[in-house]
Point group: C2
Chain length 450, copies 2
């Protein structure tokens, strides 16, 4: 059934019948839409966006993911792309421009009117971890000398425009432009028209700066029930608002990105519609680092070739010990990442985490070591082989869990990205140690093993 | 400096001075609070919650994570825990009760007043993937025969109570209790007191059922600008509301949980303050399955002992091929998980994904195979060894990427949890195939290798 949707759409686009296309699009739920757009051929997708008037194309863009939307924008003429972007809120324009390759972004900005382009450029300059990057600039600001009645009349007059603003609060400024307070819609309701705004103003509102890190913004949203927080510049003038849902979306994106990085998808989100070589290059950049780390670890095996040649059964246990230690270590990484996200663990807690993980690993290491040890013993009928592989796995579990628990905290403390680097560091060290422990123990007990 | 905060708190709790403790708590930002509570000894934490009046203890509970809060509740007397819970919104009570061990939950429910306990029990019965599980039951419902003035007077009279409700919309019911429409606060502002609600009502509002899956709720929020969606039962009576931020929090929790599952943290979130044996048991349940999968894969090595004994250098390449294929496969898993979350990939797309991943893996496999092949050639001075390990890695990359891309879709299609099972399935098959390819190629070319 789902193949039909995009096939229908493709046929309709081919006819060039704008009305029929619009009717079909309107009938689709958003998830079906993303799926259908992803399945269209590149030419059909481009033709679809050229066919629709800019405001309808913008509606479509708002409902698909940023990567998908960016891919569409890159295929369009810069002028068409600029016309579509113009229909979106400024911070979404900036998000999309930020997703584009630099030259595509420049071409589209050049096709925009100068004022919008300047505003988008400014929003796009914010680092993705600070308040400015997710603020919306559409806020209602009133002079503090107005009355409740003045404001209600203004709201009534411009209600069509304000409807798009998702108004939660009114912001009030003094004559220099500085934000002096906030008025809740409820307070407009519960006061007579003649009441001056100054009387119902909540003064000294909680504000954030443009460059406040998103973590701190999240703390404020957690501590208060606000639906939105004002963003002010150094002079105290309102620059924009951060809505709770925009913040949560940004934090959700970050946590998704962290997951992808732990799995080796780096350099930005990947969809299968992205160009072949871009995807290959990004994946290889991560894989080729891993190849070299793997070769370093495997060089330990090369150094113990005589022992291995004497007890060839050990070769079957090396990958088991390497993989199991990696699994145990990754569990500790996941717990540390989560505890950092919740704020219960910090770089300075590394010794507490180490103590805690080591005590857990003592039990788990013994259990896993015993399991694998018994397998080695029974398979080769040699208790010493079981002893060697079991002991090596138990000790290496201890090492892996200690490293897995502490490395994310240390990386964070050094301002490196724990999601990106914890995995490769963990596997390289645990492989090295696992191979060394197994083969050096075996060398020591060689007379009992052959 | 951060050690000081919890030490100060611990000392204050020991003195039993409620006022001093409250003052200290009030001075802490939320993240410092979570961190400090996590660092207190179990006894101090329990004493702190016993010391505070229930409403202040509830404020504290609202600011820490559910797992942390559940751990605290389990340590308290059921009566004390019930008194604290009573101060929280119903859906948060239900969330917390859901986090507790069954017997602790029952003890606390038994200590609650019957009516609340029944309401909490009902909310806690919803499956965590449906609308009912995240709805708040605090909504403002007015009879449709009232006027704007009636409603404004009621809001004014009960403004203290309603303040906690985070009111976004007013809900309007007919005389049978059925939800007939929604009134925006703005519309109350812009109409005179005598206007009947019926005149400004937005009829046929978008609603969801109690058992609507959260994915569908997310679609609705994505398609519309609503801050909240009404939840109705089969009779069309309002049961509660879903707020946009509660939904995003729930979806964020789910995506976090998925990440933890891929890293082997199963059976629920883990904090290092949880009981030692619980943590060990949960981690081992996952690890012991992996041990057996690893042993199955390693049995291929055992079957080729003669080849290995003849070309002992191969032993160093087996872990490299196993680990690199795992990395490539995990990249494909991450892309499939993300495409499913965005709705651009579905179980029925498995052939498209396969075709796409295989074409990418052809290039990446050749690059990685060449890298490792050259290492093998140069190290042993034998081009055939390079050929064997390079070809094995190239072919196994193809297999790993095909499996990694398609297994999440297949598991989802069979209603299994792709986050939980994709990793172990992937590594077991790629290890099996990698060992088999390397050792059978080596066996075929054995005369050239020795």
């Amino acid at each position: 059934m789902e193949t039909e949707i995009w096939e229908t759409l493709e046929d309709l686009v081919a006819t060039g019948d704008e009305q029929a296309v619009t009717a079909e699009l309107d009938s689709l739920p958003p998830f079906a839409l993303a799926h259908a757009l992803d399945h269209l051929s590149d030419e059909s997708r481009q033709k679809l966006f050229e066919l629709l008037p800019p405001d309808q194309a913008a509606d479509l863009v708002a409902q698909i993911s940023d990567v998908q939307a960016a891919a569409v924008m890159e295929d369009l003429e810069p002028g068409d792309a600029a016309a579509i972007l113009f229909e979106l809120p400024l911070h979404e324009q900036a998000d999309l421009i930020g997703e584009l390759e630099d030259e595509d972004a420049e071409a589209i900005l050049a096709a925009m009117d100068q004022q919008t382009a300047a505003a988008v450029r400014e929003l796009a300059t914010y680092d993705e971890d600070v308040a400015g990057s997710i603020m919306t600039t559409e806020a209602l600001v009133f002079d503090q000398r107005l009355s409740v009645g003045d404001v209600v009349r203004d709201l009534q007059t411009h209600s069509d425009r304000y409807r798009d603003y998702q108004v939660q609060y009114l912001h009030v400024r003094d004559r220099t432009g500085r934000l002096t307070g906030i008025v809740q819609l409820r307070d407009l309701l519960l006061n007579r028209g003649a009441t001056p705004l100054l009387e119902i103003l909540r003064r000294n509102p909680v504000v954030v700066g443009e460059f406040t890190p998103l973590d701190q913004v999240a703390d404020l949203f957690e501590a208060h029930d606000f639906l939105a927080l004002p963003v002010v510049n150094a002079e105290g003038v309102l620059e924009g608002l951060i809505r709770r849902d925009d913040l949560e979306a940004a934090l959700g994106d970050r946590s998704d990105a962290d997951y992808r990085k732990t799995q080796g998808i780096v350099g930005g989100e990947e969809l299968r519609t992205l160009p072949y070589l871009t995807r290959s290059r990004r994946r290889l950049s991560w894989l080729s680092i891993n190849v070299f780390l793997n070769i370093i670890a495997a060089s330990v095996i090369a150094a113990y070739q005589e022992t291995l040649a004497a007890v060839i059964a050990l070769a079957a246990f090396l990958p088991i010990i390497s993989d199991m230690s990696g699994c145990s270590g990754n569990q500790a990484v996941a717990v540390s990442m989560r505890e950092m996200a919740l704020g219960v663990a910090r770089p300075s807690d590394v010794f507490r985490v180490l103590r805690n993980e080591v005590s857990l690993a003592l039990l788990n290491g013994v259990v896993l070591g015993a399991l694998v040890g018994v397998v080695g013993w029974v398979w080769q009928g040699n208790a010493y082989l079981g002893l060697v592989v079991g002991t090596a796995l138990a000790l290496n579990t201890l090492i892996a869990v200690a490293i897995g628990g502490s490395v994310p905290l240390l990386l964070k403390g050094w301002d490196l990205d724990p999601a990106l680097a914890s995995g490769p560091i963990l596997t390289t060290i645990t492989d090295l140690c696992g191979f060394f422990l197994t083969l050096s123990l075996a060398t020591a007990l060689l007379t009992k093993l052959v």
